[in-house]
Symmetry: C2
Subunit: 202 residues, 2 copies
């Protein structure tokens, strides 16, 4: 394998392990064992386990952002539901990693991984603005969109532990929560009302 391929292979191996358990429970030995390479080879590409975590999580975030931005037919609500389906599928695939990343006090939550999580949040907010045809959202609308991202994150974290709500009910529920949160903010803030008038939120 070429050096770049070897590095990718180690990252892919780490990701495979992350889908079964949290990154903090994956060691260098686990990765070199599963990839069938020597520790010496590992250290040619990474200085320590944290570097693999960050590289692997960066790969996943790139993939997620690519999938969220895919073409989506239909109206805003349908587009939202399609993006939510991608997001929830992703969270289910990496449930332990997702939980570890967002859990406060987790050893995996470093400044670098926090930056990755922030990148996803910002991307989601930009995407919602794009799909809702809102340019330069008002401060109140921006806070509302960030608040909604927090609702989705918090709900999914708890839902992963206790999936008492059927999976297929989540997307339409989240989509409606977003639209009603925007409508509420529009009732409180004239600038947001003007900016979102074309959405006819009721």
């Amino acid at each position: 394998m070429a050096p770049e391929q070897r590095r990718e292979h180690l990252i892919a191996t780490a990701l495979q392990l992350y889908s079964a358990r949290a990154p903090e429970d994956v060691s260098i030995d686990d990765i070199v064992g599963a990839a069938d390479v020597s520790r010496a080879l590992f250290y040619r590409y990474f200085g320590n386990i944290r570097e693999v975590h960050e590289a692997a999580l960066g790969t996943v975030v790139d993939e997620l952002i690519g999938r969220l931005g895919g073409p989506a037919p239909g109206d805003v609500r349908e587009q939202l539901r399609a993006a939510l389906t991608e997001f929830i599928g992703f969270v289910q695939t990496y449930s332990d990693s997702y939980t570890a990343l967002l859990r406060s006090g987790s050893t995996v939550a470093t400044t670098a991984t926090e930056g990755l999580v922030e990148r996803v949040r910002e991307h989601v907010v930009d995407l919602v603005c794009l799909r809702c045809e809102v340019e330069g959202p008002t401060p109140a609308l921006l806070l509302t969109l960030r608040g909604w991202v927090a609702v989705v994150e918090t709900t999914l974290l708890r839902w992963l532990q206790d999936p008492s709500i059927p999976r297929q009910d989540l997307e339409p529920w989240f989509a409606d929560q977003l639209l009603s949160m925007i409508a509420t903010t529009a009732r409180h803030d004239a600038d947001t009302a003007a900016q979102t008038a074309h959405l006819r939120l009721g």
Copy 2:
């Protein structure tokens, strides 16, 4: 001073320092300096700086929970606004500590402090249920209330950095977001609709 008073005095000193900067930037030297005691005396009460952080944050959480549960006249919306006024005042007083506690990857966010933050969240959810006269909330309603707590936390964290929304606009906005989030969930879940019918959410 009696031993218990001395301990309280050290905690009060730590809290005073936290209102000016984040706990992670407060050292044992800072505390003994401000309290005008020796390091030896400090170590009679606490094993390390983390123990003071946790004791001090526990004191603050007890105080906050006491204040949130105070008597509140008026209807649900007015009661909510009164509790939110207490909460926002608290967050403003301890803005650096609040930010440090909730920032992922923060050295202050330990399993113990995460437990304290969780206690506040659970208390808020219980309080909302009590004020809304909801007993044994449905899974969907519980997720909605936890989601709303996340909205308030996320919004306040960003608002502390950039207070572009006037303080007095926050309480009615948060209160309306909660009621409209509950209304949205009620539209998606018949059990929640039955449970919250008396709230006449529209």
